[in-house]
Symmetry: C2
Subunit: 231 residues, 2 copies
Amino acid sequence: ADGADLVVVCTPIGAYAAIGEAIAPRLRNGAIVSDVGSVKQTVVRDLGPHIPEGVHFVPAHPVAGTEHSGPEAGFAELFQGRWCILTPPPGTAPEAVEKVGELWRQAGMMLEHMTPAHHDHVLAITSHLPHLVAFSIVGTAADLEQDLRQEVIKFAASGFRDFTRIAASDPTMWRDIFLNNRHALLDVCGRLLEDISRLQRAIRWGEGEEIERLIEASREIRRSLIDANQA
Amino acid sequence: ADGADLVVVCTPIGAYAAIGEAIAPRLRNGAIVSDVGSVKQTVVRDLGPHIPEGVHFVPAHPVAGTEHSGPEAGFAELFQGRWCILTPPPGTAPEAVEKVGELWRQAGMMLEHMTPAHHDHVLAITSHLPHLVAFSIVGTAADLEQDLRQEVIKFAASGFRDFTRIAASDPTMWRDIFLNNRHALLDVCGRLLEDISRLQRAIRWGEGEEIERLIEASREIRRSLIDANQA
């Protein structure tokens, strides 16, 4: 960080406090500190207090990625047409926000501003909950006895496969995301469990119309995704 | 069905009893009746009693497909390298089983024999539960207020998107699958809810090692899928 114009922190979120402490004395006046973390409230909490007076702090979340991690996992089109969310604290210098935004715009991203709390709420439903569920369902299958497990692999094309891709994501990175967004995540997870229970109950009691109605509602969302070029 | 050598029933499973009744008087001696349904115990129960003496009954499940339904949803490579599961009742003429198997082999499929009960158990975890969960999680997102919903669409690339593809599947077809495999499905769904609760609890109580352990276990399954060419 010595004398750098811009420092972008790209580690699991759990390391941010230690990183903040380590880089703080080396940041020059007028430098910008940003990051790419998937949770923003705890980033502001953990990294914010270490940012010296005269250094700009522009937390960002380029919402793109695959199940692979690390510098080798990048590729030229990774950010193309995706959204980058900026969550600068109130009073941050607009030029600093603009510089970080321009960096991601050059990579092909569209920009969006949010408060850290709103960011964490939106990402809890679009990203953190799907990962929690994918890890769980793949784990449930893994726990089935060895014989059946071979068959889970064989017949994965029937739906299971779609869940395994994101379940291959990095454990440390996801441990930190879950722990750092626990309130929003537990809230949406509670909602999902209610919804699964409702469908489960409709199946147990043979309520065909209710089942069809629930399925129909979720098809509509898929159509919206296709219309928005995010499918 | 008049004078046909082979009749393959390809409708939602809920229609099988009525179809069996309608085609029974028209089946010629030596004909074969098969199907492509995703549940096999209730197919044997609903279609089996209508099959006349002298007609062969070979239920089959070609495990392949997309979220699209109907004849237009087919394409040349759909069945290539996938598995077809045959569940003929005990005592079925081997030549009839061989004929149905050969049909799917010619389409590029590999063959597997199972009892209807075992089939329904395996498919409950590999296909029916993933669909139940996908419908639910997409429904949970859809229920969030209109404002947030636009953002769910925008940031879907972060994980949510993987669930929406299978959630776009046909409501009538899936209503019938859920209702006709309810016992096996409710069993695996109960297991999943236990597993989600365990992860949820670990997140609430900040048990980082437990979270990492659960995520690590599910990565292993993904590797097996890649090794088996089913990823």
